[in-house]
């Protein structure tokens, strides 16, 4: 036989309040969980992005380093070429043959007063 139990109205209100508090807390926990999950995914994505950036920069650095080496080599080649072209032996031959220059004769050098 069913017995009707009368529950005082005050107690009912307390239970409701407790339930509401509990549901708010669980909602916060859910939010926190989602937030942590997203943060983790975000951190992983940032890590992957950084890793990709490192590799990309590695390629850029490699290309630039190769360019630097090539330019340095070119610079050395140009230095050798310049020095070869301006060697006294060659300059003298050119000055004498092509330009018809001669060594200054006596008196052609004027000393400033």
């Amino acid at each position: 036989m069913a017995t009707a139990v009368s529950v005082p109205a005050r107690k009912v209100a307390t239970v409701k309040r407790e339930r509401a508090v509990r549901s708010t807390a669980s909602r916060w926990r859910l939010f926190l969980g989602i937030f942590l999950g997203l943060a983790l995914i975000g951190a992983v994505l940032v890590h992957v992005w950084l890793r990709l950036q490192v590799v990309r920069m590695g390629y850029v650095l490699s290309t630039t380093s190769k360019l630097q080496t090539r330019l340095e080599q070119e610079n050395r080649e140009l230095k050798v070429e310049l020095a070869t072209l301006t060697s006294p032996d060659r300059l003298e031959a050119l000055a004498r043959q092509r330009l018809g220059l001669i060594a200054p004769e006596k008196g052609q050098i004027v000393v400033l007063p």
């Binding site: 920069m57 390629y59 080599q73 020095a83 060697s87 006294p88 008196g107 004027v110 000393v111």
Partner: protein, 651 residues
């Protein structure tokens, strides 16, 4: 309801078991890969994605005192093969032989080799390298190697030396300073991708190896060039075997030029013999002959045994001494000490040596640095041969007096004269001013270094004045005279010892050593011509070479002549060479010069204006180039306080 709950429970256990099994399988596999086979797999992986890059050493440069490079390094490519990877040997050998201009049979033989790595050709040219790369055949590779270039060719070849294929200095300064110049070899392990491209994820720190240090020399390329050119001309003209020319700054001991003939181009060192590569200025010693008389003269003056005007009887050309007859080329009677030096009398010097005595003479021979290396920073220097006076026979005093029975290197001789030129100090010669690291740090620096005082300043001046007479009228070295300058020096013609039969041969060594300007020397130079045939006398074969080298060197060092050349003579001489300019000068030259009024310079060339200023003893300041278009103060105007005419040139 209970049955359904039990089923769910079972399923859950099955799922749990399945996941556990999978997890164990993955874990087990991971354990196998990471722990059991970890090292091996890591090695295999690294072999694929890591590569060691070798950074070749970059050799430093050799640079002259004006910054002109004498030796530079570049990278060039060398071709190698891995014979076992070559598929079509005939085709490959044909291609390689054609591109590299080699014999096909030779290449074919290399391909047939059992070795895993064979060089085909070292240091190929850029077009050849490009063609080889275009072939794109398996088993053929290119390797970057450092390659040394000497852009000035044969200039100072013997002094600079050369490096071998492996970038190691083998001779000359390249050998002497190898540790500084060489640079370091480095290596760096970097990642590479699937296509073999380098990915520098760790940065480029490991690949940046500092190059070798640069050597800054005291040499002057222009003076060196003049010395080599003049030396070669004389050696060829007089059909000599070899020659040496050295130019040194007397106050510091810095070597400005050190020339050898036969010349040597370090770019082709393999094609030349050791004989041609020898730096005779330091590795060969000669009996100096009359140039050594100056050493006895210095001893006599410094010991105050003989005065400049003391008279000696020169026995009319024949003087019996210690059982031998001493001869002079010309018979002389009474001569003063100065005159004896001027005419280079053997008899006169024998008599001076008798007064100085052998112990004191030997003391000066040693003080002047003979018999010991000078300490120059060039490899292979020899000390020459000087015997102690205890071992001298009777005749040795006389032979030493005129430079026989003793051997010296050309460098020792030039440094002895430098001591007379600089007021009596024997200096240590050097060719390297400093060694600079790539970051600009001074790693080594040579400063002028006094070895010792040899004679007093007063006596060095006196001796310099006596040596000046040698190049004046009546002396043996008149052909060394330079217009506008006083030259002090001494000629020498030495007989060469006969190494086979003993005694002396008919071969001669002609030399001249001197300094200029005599009263304030800026350079001291020696010219030595070995075994000339057409003419043998130092005054003929070597003195003109000295004159030409010294003249050019003085111009290069911007030393103004002591004795001004009259401008009228200049204009007259210029007539034949630059008629246009002279006409222009004449056209604008005033007919008479008013002493008080400012003269006109309008229309004159730069040179014309300078000459006119010199003639009129007027101070001018020139601005611009071309012809004078404006002057201040104006022509005919009054002088300002500065007494200077400012000339503006254009055109």
């Amino acid at each position: 309801m209970r049955r359904s709950s039990q089923r769910n429970h079972r399923r859950l256990w099955v799922a749990k078991g399945l996941f556990l099994a999978l997890f164990l399988a993955v874990g087990g596999r991971a354990f196998q890969l990471q722990v059991l086979q970890g090292d091996k797999l890591m090695r295999l992986g690294q072999r694929q994605h890591l590569k060691e890059w070798i950074v070749l050493p970059k050799r430093g440069a050799l640079i002259d005192r004006a910054g002109e490079p004498l030796a530079l390094s570049m990278e060039s490519q060398s071709v190698y093969i891995r014979p076992h990877r070559i598929q079509e040997a005939d085709k490959v050998s044909h291609h390689l032989a054609e591109i590299l201009r080699l014999r096909a049979a030779e290449v074919r033989q290399k391909i047939a080799s059992e070795k895993p790595f064979v060089w085909i050709k070292r240091q190929v040219s850029s077009p050849e390298a490009e063609k080889i790369q275009a072939l794109n055949l398996d088993g053929i590779g290119m390797y970057y190697e450092p390659n040394r270039h000497y852009p000035q060719g044969q200039l100072a070849g013997q002094l600079i030396g050369f490096v071998g294929r492996d970038s190691e200095g083998l001779e000359g300064l390249e050998l002497k300073y190898n540790d500084y110049i060489r640079g370091e070899t480095g290596s760096s392990v970097t990642e590479r991708d699937a296509l073999g491209r380098r990915v520098l994820v760790e940065g480029i720190g490991g690949l940046q190896i500092p190059p070798g240090s640069d050597i800054h020399l005291t040499l002057d390329t222009s003076i060196q060039h003049m010395a080599e050119k003049e030396l070669e001309a004389s050696v060829l003209k007089y059909r000599a075997k070899a020659g040496v020319a050295i130019v040194v700054e007397p106050r510091t001991g810095e070597v400005l030029a050190l020339a050898n003939y036969p010349s040597f181009d370090p770019n082709n060192y393999t094609k030349l013999t050791a004989e041609q590569r020898r730096n005779r200025a330091v590795t060969d010693s000669f009996e100096p002959g009359s140039t050594f008389k100056t050493i006895l003269a210095a001893a006599a003056l410094d010991e105050e045994i003989v005065g400049k005007e003391d008279l000696f009887y020169c026995e009319m050309g024949k003087y019996p001494f210690a059982g031998k007859i001493i001869h002079d080329t010309h018979p002389y009677g009474w001569l003063s000490f100065a005159k004896i030096l001027q005419v280079s009398s053997n008899i006169g010097f024998t008599k001076i040596a008798e007064k100085v005595k052998k112990e004191r003479y030997f003391k000066y021979i040693e003080k002047f640095g003979f018999g010991k290396v000078t300490g120059i920073d060039v490899p292979g220097e020899v000390p020459g041969l000087v015997r102690r006076p205890e071992g001298w026979s009777g005749i040795d005093l006389a032979t030493h007096a005129f430079g026989q029975g003793i051997s010296t290197t050309p460098l020792q001789m030039v440094m002895a004269y430098a001591a007379i030129a600089n007021g009596g100090f024997l200096m240590r010669p050097y060719v390297t001013r400093r060694v600079l690291s790539p970051r600009g740090e001074v790693l080594l620096e040579n400063q002028p270094q006094v070895v010792r005082r040899v004679i007093s300043e007063k006596n060095s001046k006196l001796l310099a004045a006596m040596l000046r007479d040698v190049t004046n009228e009546g002396g043996t070295g008149t052909m060394a005279n330079i217009e506008g300058f006083e030259v002090a020096g001494k000629t020498g013609t030495a007989q060469k010892a006969d190494t086979i039969h003993g005694g002396y041969s008919k071969k001669r060594v002609g030399s001249f050593v001197g300094f200029v300007p005599a009263n304030d020397p800026r350079l001291v130079a020696l010219v030595l011509i070995d075994e000339p045939e057409a003419q043998v006398y130092g005054g003929v074969v070597a003195a003109p070479v000295f004159r030409n080298i010294a003249q050019g060197a003085l111009r290069r060092l911007a030393v103004a002549p002591e004795k001004a050349t009259p401008v009228s003579a200049t204009a007259k001489q210029m007539d034949s060479t630059t008629p246009r300019m002279v006409k222009r000068i004449e056209a604008h030259a005033p007919s008479h010069i008013d002493a008080d009024a400012v003269p006109s310079f309008i229309g004159l060339s730069f040179r014309g204006a300078l000459e006119k200023a010199q003639t009129l003893k007027v101070k001018v300041r020139l601005q611009g180039n071309g012809y004078v278009v404006k002057q201040a103060p104006a022509a005919g105007g009054r002088w300002t306080d500065e007494q200077t005419v400012v000339l503006n040139l254009q055109g």
